[in-house]
Amino acid sequence: MLARRLIPCLDVRDGQVVKGVRFRDHVVMGGIEELALRYRDEGADELVFYDITASPEGRSVDRTWVERVATIIDIPFCVAGGIRSVDDSRAILNAGADKVSVNSPALERPDLIDELAAAFGVQCVVVGVDSLKDADGEWRVRQYTGDPSKTKALGRRTLDWVVEAQQRGAGEIVLNCMGSDGAKTGYDLEQLAAVRAICRVPLVASGGAGAIEHFVDAFRVADVDAALAASVFHSGTVPIPELKDRLANAGIEVRRD
């Protein structure tokens, strides 16, 4: 049986891992390779590296650290940030990443998802969705969230975009619930469950993890395939080995070997 995955998210800025609260005010957490190795040793199932300023700055990911990470770790990893073409993606995948994740550029030009799926197969194509509930109660997507001064609210409903992304060839959806991100009060179970109901590919929960129970709920209540978190892992508030023990005790399949 397929194990549920735990994915530390490493936000990369200027060659270092940083973390902000509600996507703002970033502080340095450590070096890319140092943290990659630490999480691999602690039993992380996968890593995601977001070059958080690449998209707002209109540039692609720096591939030199991708190559270094690919050489030192033996678990899968995904790279995101400013990937806007098949060529950008090929460079990242050839550097050793297992998957690429597209977000803002896919909103600019949705055909990008089709092109990536055709070139590399859907299993390489992750679509990240930054989503926030608007005053009218509707979840809608946001663009360029790596830089608050450039973040744009779009008219596109989150649920519509998730359906379209899958039709175009997304092999996995990462739902970043911006309303709960950094608040440590738990994943947005309501929104995740709504997306789960229309998501036939693997779904990754992101935004809001503060304690072990939040992971249990995300898997049990929202039935997500993986849970992504940053600060609770960086700070050591939620140690991955203890988290996996607790998930296993709750009857949730995890990898502990």
């Binding site: 397929l2 194990a3 550097a95 297992d98 590399f120 390489c124 590919v201 039935d223 395939d225 990898r255």
Partner: protein, 215 residues
Amino acid sequence: MTDALPALDASRIRLVLLDSGGANLGSVQAAFARLGVEAPVTSDAQRIRAATHVILPGVGAAAPAMARLRANGLDRLIPTLTQPLMGICVGMQLLFEHSVEGEVDCLGLLPGRVERLPESPGVRVPHMGWNRLQPASVEAAAHPLMAGLDGRHAYFVHSYAYRGDTNALATSTHGQPFTAIAAHGRVMGAQCHPERSAATGARLLRNFLSLQASS
């Protein structure tokens, strides 16, 4: 997590990776480098014949990978090899007779057809993540390729697989079972990605390198 094993004698191993196109050959090379073994990519027949072990990697789709093998002549060379050969992921799928992904005829070194994994409620495709390797039989569990792998988790990311069990050493279950590791004489395949399967994957690659040409 890693069992204490005798050191691999890397000086006796001449490994090659066959050029089947696609991305991510670097990850496979890095995985062998961690075992102290170089893994050059080649489509040169002489170099391939001189190797002690051959890996057929593959990422992407079966049809473009087969087209690449036809273009560089490896489709005719591979069936004539006598040393241990292991296909990884799509590389394993190419060893079968046919893949429905692109409806392409493959190398036919293993009997069977590669099919799409069926979706059902709670069973999402692509099959993406860590799944258990279950020995297909008592005999399969005793195969040297399976040493230390019983019940361990390996990393998978694919939408297609051989869903039969002929030549299966290990199966995994995603809704329904499929062959995760296969062996038929010198021809072997791993549907999982050993290069991304932590200690379990390293053990599988190590087991492969420990096989002799005669086995």
